[in-house]
Homo-oligomer: 356 residues x 2
Amino acid sequence: MANGQENSGDSGNTPDTSGVPVTVRTLADLARLAGVSTGTVSRALAGKALVNTETRERIQALAREHGFRPNQMASKLRSKRTGVVGIVIPLGHEKRQHISDPFFLTLLGWLADELTESGYDVMLSRALPDGTSDWLERVTGSGMVDGVLLIGQSDQFEVIEAVARHYRPLVAWGAYSEGQTHCAVGTDNIEGGRIAAEHLIASGARKLAFMGEIKGIEIDERWRGASAAAAKAGIPIVHIPISLASEEMGAQIAEAAKSADFTIDGIVAASDLIAMNVLHCLHEKGRAVPGDVQVIGFDDLPLASLTMPPLTTIRQEIGSGAKAMVERLRERLEGAPAGSLKMPPRLVVRETTKAV
Amino acid sequence: MANGQENSGDSGNTPDTSGVPVTVRTLADLARLAGVSTGTVSRALAGKALVNTETRERIQALAREHGFRPNQMASKLRSKRTGVVGIVIPLGHEKRQHISDPFFLTLLGWLADELTESGYDVMLSRALPDGTSDWLERVTGSGMVDGVLLIGQSDQFEVIEAVARHYRPLVAWGAYSEGQTHCAVGTDNIEGGRIAAEHLIASGARKLAFMGEIKGIEIDERWRGASAAAAKAGIPIVHIPISLASEEMGAQIAEAAKSADFTIDGIVAASDLIAMNVLHCLHEKGRAVPGDVQVIGFDDLPLASLTMPPLTTIRQEIGSGAKAMVERLRERLEGAPAGSLKMPPRLVVRETTKAV
DNA sequence: CCGCCAATTACAATCGTTTGAAAGTTTAAG
DNA sequence: CTTAAACTTTCAAACGATTGTAATTGGCGG
C-alpha cells in the first residue's frame, strides 16, 4: 500500500459515503471509490480474467450503481480500435442533395442492422463530391472509423479506386469489373438489363425505351445490358434520361411523356421507383398496362408488389447483399483479402408485362 | 532552440528528404518535417490567427502534400467536443428487428442531411430495448456524441423521460403532452386521427375500422383521435392491430380481411404503408375503392400519390420536422431551453375517398 | 543602447483510457 | 522452511491531439 490513495480506514471517517452524491465520471473516480487502481478498474469493467472475480464483481456493481460508463473517445484513442464503421453515400451525380432513393435507404437499414449485430457502431456520412476528391479520404483518414462501407459508386469510380489502393477495409455496393481494385458487392446489372429487355421482347414488345439517368455506373450497365439485348433481337430502344431523385422524377417523366413516341410498347425502368412513376403517368395518359405498354422495373422493393397492376421487375437481393458486404468488411479488417461479389439478378414476373 | 528536435542543418545531411516516402501520421511527424512544434502545427491546421501567415500556409501545404489528417479521436478527447450527433431508432414494440418503416427511413435521411449541413457527423444506433432500459444511456453516456436525436418514441416513453431529466441535448420525433420533460417534435396525432375519421364520415362512411398496432404512443394517439371523432358522430369504429413492420404487414392484413366484417365502409390506416397494403388487399378481394370502401392513410409519403387510386391521406411535414429537430438540438447544445413543437396535420384529399 | 510591446513559437500539462512490466501475495511443491 | 509458480494489483508509459503559459525574437520609441 504505497501512497495514501486507498481508502484505508474507509468507513471510519465519513459515516456513509452513499449520502454524498459523488459524480463518478472517470475511471479514476471509480477507482478511488473502490479503493483500487485505475488499471484494475479498467480490466474489471472489460471483464478480463486478470482481476479477482470478487473484485471484478464489486467494481462492476459500483459502476452500475453510479451509472458509470467509460469515455469512448479515450478508450478508442488508446486502443486504436474504434468499433465504428463508416457508411457513406456518394451523391456525385445528383445535384439535389437529399438522400431519398428508397433502395439505398433500405440497404442502409440492412447494413445498419448487420453491423449492430456484429457489435459495430455506425457513422453515417452523406458525401457530395463537389469538385474535391477527398470526400472519401476525409472519412477513411479521420481515425474515426475502422472501415468504410460505400452505398453506391455514383460517378466516383476513380476516386474510390484511388483510395482502395492504399486503404483495405473498404467495401462498396455497386458494380465490379475485371481489374477493379476496390471490393464491390452488387448485382450483375448488365445481365439484369439484358433479362429485362429480353423479357419485354419475349412478351411481344417491339419498340423499347430505357428510362433513367446513366451517369452512375450501375444504371449505365443496366442500359448497356438492355440495349445489347435489343440490338441482338433487332428491336429499337431509346434512352430517356430521368433523374433518380424522386422529387424531380415525376415532373421529368411527365415531360418526357408529352413529347413521347406513342409507338413505344415496352419500358425498361432503371429502378422500381421510376417504374412506379411511369405507371402512374401512363394511367393518367389513359394508356393500358400491359395492354398498350409493358413495363418492367429494377430492384423489387417491397412496394413493387403493391402497385396497380403489380410490377414485373428484376430483383436485387438486398438483404443478403448487405450481409455479404459486412462479411467482406470484417474479413478485410482481419487482414484477409476478401474479393468482390456479383450476384445474379432474378426476373420476378407480375402483371405489368404480358404472359407469353 | 532547446533540445535537438528541430531539423537544424536540415538539408545538409540528407540530400533530399522527398526521396524518402516518410509516412506522416501524427502532428509530431508533421512538426518534425516542418521544423516547428506540434502546438504550432495544431494551430496552423486549425487556421488560427496566432501563427504567422507564412508558416501556416507552409504547414497546410505540407499536410496536404502528405495527405495528413489529424486523428479525430485524440482531437475530440482533448477538446471535449465530438461534433457528432447520435440518431437512435428505438424498436421497442417491434420484435422484428429490421428498420424498414419508410417514414422513419425518410426522416433519417432528412436528419442526416440537416446535420451534415450544420457540420455534424452522424452516429446511427438502432436500439432494441430488450428488457434493459439503458439502451439510451448507452448512447448519451458514451462520450461519443454531443447530443442525441430520437426517431420515434416507441413504447419507451418513461425511459426517455428519465434520461431527459438529466441529459439536455436530446430531441425526439414523436408525441408531446402536458408536463412532458423531453423535447419532442411531431405532428398533432390526435388531431390527425380526428381529421381522418371526420373526413371519412363526412364523405359517407358509416362503419369504420382503424388499422394499426397501438403500442407506440403516436399511433395510439391517432387511434384516440379517430375513435373520439367516431364516437362524437355516433359511428361505430373497430381497432384492428396490424404490425408496422412491412414484412408481416401484408399477411396480417390478408388475415384480418378473411374474418373481416364486410359492412365496414371506411378505413383509417395508421400509416401510408398500411394503407397501401390495404388498397392492394381490397383490390384482390374485388372491393371497389372508394366505391365500396373508403381509405385514408397517414404520413403523405412521396409514394402516396402514386397508388391506384391515389391515396387520400394526412400529411406530416417531415422535412420541416427534421429541420425543427436539428434546430432545437443546436439550441440545447448552446444551453438554450428549446421547447417542444406540435405541428398541425393536413388533410390531403386524393381519390381513395369520395368527393363530398 | 535599453526597455517594452507585439508577434510568434516552444513547452508542457491535460483529456480518460488501456496495457506491458514490475511488484506483491498466496498457494503449492520440494 | 525455501523457492517457484500462479494470481492479483499497482505503476507508469503510451494514444495523438489541444491549449494556457512561458520564452524568444524583432521592431520601435526614447
